[in-house]
Assembly symmetry: C2
Homo-oligomer: 362 residues x 2
């Protein structure tokens, strides 16, 4: 029996997608082969990859001014690749620090020799806030402005795109844990990137949308498989790409499209999140520390007033078929991730369980 | 209906493994979740990854002196990571050039600032040979001796490990297209690495066996996800690893073990290859250009005496359920890849088809 899986990633995937993948895992498109077994340069697979790219473009509205790349190594790989593609050693780039994923990206940029200027840092609020619009500026000569649009661990989302603050510098955004969960104005960004393993499929692959004028600026020694220009020219197939990840991504993209696209996703995701936040906010038993305007619709951490009940809460949740609710090891408490594939029923079951637990234990 | 798939990679996988994966793709180990959906830090998945590592150790005999790493980006990623982990810019390393995959690794090492000294180059034979034992030496100060143990495109295999020639320098071997196809003396190597997508699972992941005294020598700016020491300390989970690839690798490793291990694989692989080479060598219609002592048991390129028949050969093969026999785009002709999962029946069907084609067309 399937459970309601609140994992932050790898995360719950749409059941119809998994059933389809299972049904054709030994014989894909009547080829007599699994999609795992076909050459990435064969016509069936190149059509599959091209369809995934085209569907991303339809869903996001990304124009031909943007390259769509499928890159190995997930978002953390791109933490290294972004400086390698956009700077020379010693160049400056600007960063917002809104939590642990921002911090990791900053550290990796520094390892790549970037002079990383943190123009806003939410340490004072223990990373439960985002910087106010207009409260920061990008230093002269910065090659880009970087931020994490949704902090998976803290449950903090940037409520706006800092276009005015960037003042014409390319904006680079890590959207891993909110990828294709709502409409996006691609033209506002230089680079949109993120790992697939939250909303979009298996772990191990990054999907990057890159404004084409940013191609061709890479350092001479950026790893070949992360040289954006080379990969754009090779349709992401300089080497053997993660073919199964691209295949499953395609199935999930069609599921999103068939479910109404990004506007429908946003409406459903906002409704799911609002119901859970309401349940938390109307209770003295549960609480969420994030300022309301910066709350994530995807990752919702919450704590119990009495942390000694955490273990009982999690055990009871498991028994009720509600899994992976334990908070990140660095934070404690609970975290419910409500990605695209989390059903309304799953959220209802969680809220019902929380109310019942509070009733019997409070 | 399943076909006999001679693809060079991604390549045919054992049918029982695919059937098992399909059967549990929506519910893994009665968890109510797909293996694609579980947290990489949960106890089920960490046990899965630990089991894959332990099985590799049992199959290869790799001792605790070696780290076993699962790394994103495949072998091509390691072409960048190896210099990053074993050299500073300007250091020297020695290379054998036995074909296109050697050449790619040399080029990438040069991009990483390595003074790449090619100590043997088989250009004179158009890369149909391997260097004689004792015919090359490693220059003083070289950080490692690199070679490709099996050239997938040329169908050329190094018939020996150049231990004497390395003279104590660590040997680094790309074994992508022969990984776990026969017993290996791990202790002879500093680094054994390769992509999984030939013998061992989905595309996009590298498996590296690294002698532990080589950890901790990385450049300050090697990408974090390829810093071998960091990844060894994190059990390959600094970031979210390619979890489905590790899962499927585990199933395949158990299939190898249950099939008798590496000695049994070698016996069967040698027998399969010998039958196909015999069919080629006893015919004037087909030919293979590789010198006999350097022939690969995994990748067997062959040409027709009359290349104008290539298209008919391939079309007839497809009709007979023999797929992906077209040679590499840079070489032409045909290529049959006979990895672990290629059955005896598949090889027999190919040989029968070749004989019938020759009889009717010669």
């Amino acid at each position: 029996m399937r459970v309601h899986n609140f994992s932050a990633g790898p995360a719950q995937l749409p059941l119809p997608v998994l059933e389809r993948a299972a049904s054709e895992l030994t014989d894909w498109r009547s080829s007599g082969m699994s999609v795992l077994e076909v050459s990435h340069r064969g016509k069936d697979f190149t059509a599959c990859a091209a369809d995934a790219e085209a569907t991303i473009r339809r869903l996001t509205g990304a124009s031909d001014d943007y390259a769509v790349l499928f890159l190995a190594g997930g978002a953390t790989g791109q933490f290294s690749a972004i400086p390698g593609n956009l700077t020379e050693r010693g160049d400056t780039a600007a960063f917002l620090n809104t939590g642990q994923w921002s911090a990791k990206a900053i550290k990796e940029a520094q390892r790549q020799g970037v002079d990383a200027v943190v123009v806003a840092d939410e340490a004072d609020s223990s990373y439960t806030t985002t910087p106010d619009a207009g409260s920061f500026t990008v230093p002269e000569g910065a090659r880009y402005l970087y931020y994490c649009a949704n902090e998976t661990i803290g449950g903090v989302a940037m409520p706006y795109v800092p276009t005015a603050e960037a003042a014409g510098v390319p904006i680079v955004a890590d959207v891993s844990s909110m990828y294709l969960s709502r409409p996006v104005d691609v033209d506002a960004f230089g680079v949109i990137f993120g790992g697939a393993q939250k909303n979009l499929g298996p772990a191990g692959m990054d999907i990057s949308l890159i404004r084409k004028d940013l191609l061709g600026r890479a350092r001479a020694d950026v790893p070949a498989i992360w040289d954006w220009k080379v990969m754009a020219e090779a349709d992401s197939m300089l080497n053997t790409p993660p073919t199964f990840s691209i295949y499953l991504l395609g199935l999930i993209l069609h599921w999103i499209e068939d479910s109404g696209g990004l506007a429908a996703m946003a409406e459903r995701n906002d409704a799911k999140a609002q119901r859970l936040y309401d349940a938390i906010d109307t209770s003295d038993f549960y609480s969420n520390p994030v300022e309301k305007r910066s709350r994530s619709a995807m990752n919702i951490p919450f704590t119990l007033a009495d942390p000694s009940l955490d273990t009982a809460f999690l055990a009871g949740a498991e028994d009720a078929g509600l899994t992976n609710l334990k908070g990140h090891r660095s934070v404690g408490g609970m975290r419910a991730s409500l990605y695209n594939a989390m059903t309304d029923d799953g959220v209802s079951a969680l809220i019902d369980y929380m109310a019942e637990f509070e009733r019997t234990r409070a």
